[in-house]
């Protein structure tokens, strides 16, 4: 299938933008000027100014001489590019591949898109009408190549659709400037009296290269389709993206759910074919008023289970505000991972962490309560109890080191050790009694000490001597003394946990 490109040219992009904000400016000759080498040079002029012979490239002082009533607005740096980028993003509703063509153009790759609006003519008309409705003067053209479309767009006749394969004929009558050549080359062509493309198109290529450089030939090839030219999309195309344009704007919850279901169906079919599973998905709705509504979900394990994904989205669908209606839905899967069919079937109903149902359960929980609530712990390379565990990154991560099972560890660990008052007999003996939260515990039995050194390479502090003790009621505690026993009582005792 041959490519089709649509180019949009805003002849008065900047002046139109200023006039949009101040409608009074429509009625007066207006130019936008930017400083250049110490002078103010016009970068954009509206139609009224142009009719007086004031055009881009003219110095403002000269223009004022021609027309004293001229209104000059200072340009904001980068404004033009920003406008183009926003326009290109808006155009994504017409084609996913929209790129900017500075200073005043947009290029859309509309291959396979035009039928959605009933043919290229209607497609072009729809786009042009919408853009004009915003207050911009636009010229558009469709052709097989970006070069041909650009040429016809800027220099061509009113009929802006070049049928597939006829770009050569369409270019013949146009001036060489339509080929997007450098000013120097254009000058030389003009001096030689070559005013139309048909004058040079038949010349031998070697002669053209010698006289005008490689660029001329390259532009020829690009316009005729012998050399491929691509535009860089403003939003990089998602590898896994499904689109659903709607004939009528959709504004009901039921309609949105149906759209989501259809998108999920097609995306999951594709994923299943490629044996992939998605980890994150974003569902977007492009509203009539230009706003984009979106919801996103994440999963713990790659999946292409339509039902499960729909369930995850279902909770968030009410947050989509359709307002006047949504005209286009897209579903992106930015994060996709390989998934073996064999594994998927093995995981079905085996029980344990590998079971798919658990991954799906965690997806639902995370989806509802948000990130940071679901944890799984693995041993970490630290002896310090608070740091001896770490959170697992994923559901499939396995411990890299073995759990330390040779030392007793309490069932409940206080997040921060609490100071206690103790009565301990001699150095290195466990306390005889301790007081915690106003209650006195008499210690009947004890084990220890287990010395755990402070990790001096991480932080300062004393080592800890841990004792497990049991009081007269049978409750078991984990106590420690911070640092060595000293006669001047600078050491402190703490409680750090409860044994079962």
């Amino acid at each position: 299938m041959s490519k089709r490109y649509l180019t949009i040219w805003f002849p008065h992009l900047l002046t139109d933008w200023f006039s949009r904000r101040q409608p009074a400016l429509h009625q007066v000759p207006l130019v936008v000027a930017a400083p250049d080498h110490g002078r103010l040079v016009i970068v954009s002029a509206n139609a009224l100014a142009q009719s007086q012979g004031i055009d881009t490239g003219l110095v403002v002082a000269d223009a004022r001489a021609i027309m004293p009533s001229l209104i000059v607005i200072n340009n904001e740096p980068g404004l033009g590019n920003r406008l183009l980028k926003n326009m290109a993003e808006w155009c994504i509703r017409y084609s996913p591949l929209a790129g900017t063509d500075p200073p005043e153009g947009i290029v859309l790759d509309i291959t396979g898109c035009a039928h959605l609006r009933g043919g290229e003519e209607k497609y072009l008309q729809h786009l042009t009408t919408r853009l004009s409705g915003f207050g911009y003067e636009v010229r558009t053209a469709i052709a097989d190549t970006i070069g041909a479309a650009w040429a016809v767009n800027h220099f061509g006749p009113a009929c802006p659709i070049i049928e597939s394969g006829t770009q050569r004929a369409a270019l013949l009558k146009l001036p060489p400037a339509a080929l997007r050549l450098e000013a120097e080359v254009l000058d030389r062509l003009q001096k030689l009296g070559l005013n139309q493309i048909q004058d040079i198109i038949a010349m031998p290529r070697s002669a053209l290269r010698r006289r005008f450089g490689q660029q001329l030939l390259q532009r020829f090839d690009q316009a005729l389709g012998d050399q491929e030219e691509v535009t860089e999309p403003v939003i990089p195309l998602e590898a896994y993206q499904e689109r659903l344009p709607c004939l009528e704007p959709i504004s009901t919850a039921g309609g949105i759910a149906v759209a989501l279901e259809r998108l999920l169906d097609t995306l999951c079919q594709r994923l299943a074919l490629e044996q992939k599973g998605l980890r994150t998905a974003i569902f977007k709705g492009y509203r009539l008023d230009g706003k984009i509504e979106q919801v996103s979900i994440g999963t713990n394990r790659g999946t292409h289970n339509t039902k499960h994904l729909f369930k995850l989205f279902e909770e968030k669908l009410p947050t989509i505000e359709p307002a006047l209606g949504i005209e286009l839905f897209t579903l992106d899967a930015p994060k996709v991972e390989e998934l073996s069919v064999l594994q998927a079937s093995l995981w079905q109903g085996v029980g344990g962490l590998e079971d798919n149902s658990i991954a799906e359960l965690l997806d639902r929980l995370q989806n509802r309560v948000g990130e940071g609530h679901v944890h799984r712990y693995l041993p970490d390379q630290h002896h310090w109890p608070e740091r001896s565990i770490k959170t697992a990154e994923s559901l499939t991560e396995t411990p890299s080191i073995a759990w330390n099972i040779h030392k007793p560890r309490p069932m409940q660990l206080l997040s921060k050790p609490e100071p206690i008052d103790v009565a301990a007999p001699v150095p290195d003996y466990p306390p005889m009694l301790f007081r915690f939260k106003g209650k006195l515990h008499t210690i009947k039995k004890s084990d220890g000490p287990e010395r755990i050194e402070a990790e001096w390479w991480l932080e300062g502090g004393q080592h800890r001597d841990y004792y497990s003790v049991e009081d007269e009621e049978g409750n078991r505690y984990w106590l420690f003394r911070s640092g060595h026993y000293t006669a001047d009582k600078t050491h402190q005792w703490f409680i750090h946990g409860y044994f079962s």
């Binding site: 109903g349 359960l361 679901v374 759990w403 069932m411």
Partner: protein, 244 residues
């Protein structure tokens, strides 16, 4: 004919249990939790799996003791490759301690939720998931409706649920199959050795549906529940660990 009459009674009892939703665990998938003399208290002489148990605890010490007993039960339910979910307000359980009760800590998923209603919702969702061996939820107050919902969830999925209730205000009736209370009691010295012995609890079964409540002193030794004083001879390797 007293013998045939008692046989008839037994048969009727079995039928009633069947009607009440109790599946006999003797059909090949019996779990052996090593509960020994406790089993006499349960219907069918088997620990009720696919049911929701309720564990009441008072202070932090009780919570630790209950956690230990519960970990012993869950360890038996999970066997070697099962998975469990522990839903609570904040991470209270220190995962490495689970090793001692035969649970691989990395096979337990902890979910920290602040709101009680979120915990209930998460617990119900988790109980519907057939891939899990056990689900623990830390819920302070449990009404009848909520407990009934949990019970319905487990009847379909055959997952065993445990509800840990810290200092509950009212202990009304609910649909839980059993109500437990676990307190620490002084450990017994093993063969006169000094130091702390094995974890030992007084386990009260305050309520059990279709069973007989009771109370037992239980200790955890050599990776299983022990109902008598453990002897040195059966656990040399564990003792070595503790003294080393």
């Amino acid at each position: 004919m007293p013998e045939s009459r008692s046989a008839l009674f037994n048969q009727l009892q079995q039928d009633i249990l069947q009607l009440q939703g109790y599946k006999s665990n003797l059909a090949g998938n019996a779990v052996t939790l090593g509960l020994g003399p406790m089993l006499a208290a349960f219907p069918n002489h088997s620990f009720p799996i696919a049911a929701v148990h309720e564990l009441i605890c008072g202070g932090v010490e009780d919570a630790a003791a209950t956690g230990g007993f519960l970990a012993g039960l869950i360890g038996g339910l999970m066997r070697s490759d099962g998975a469990a979910i522990w839903i609570g307000r904040s991470p209270t359980i220190f995962p490495p301690a689970l090793n001692y009760f035969g649970i691989k800590p990395e096979r337990v998923i902890f979910i920290d939720l602040q709101q009680e209603k979120d915990v209930l919702w998460a617990m119900e969702e988790a109980l519907k998931c057939r891939g899990l061996a056990a689900v623990v939820g830390e819920i302070k107050e449990l009404g009848f409706t909520a407990s009934r919902r949990l019970q319905l969830a487990v009847e379909a999925s055959r997952v065993t649920g445990f509800i840990l209730r810290h200092q509950p205000r009212n202990l009304g009736a609910n649909a839980c199959v059993a109500r437990w209370q676990v307190r620490s009691i002084p450990s017994e010295a093993v063969d006169g050795l000094p130091g702390i012995g094995f974890p030992r609890w007084q386990v009260d079964l305050a309520k059990v549906r279709n069973g007989k409540p009771g109370s037992w002193p239980v200790s955890w030794a050599a990776g299983r529940f022990a109902f008598a004083t453990p002897k040195m001879a059966i656990l040399p390797q564990v003792l070595k660990k503790k003294t080393g």
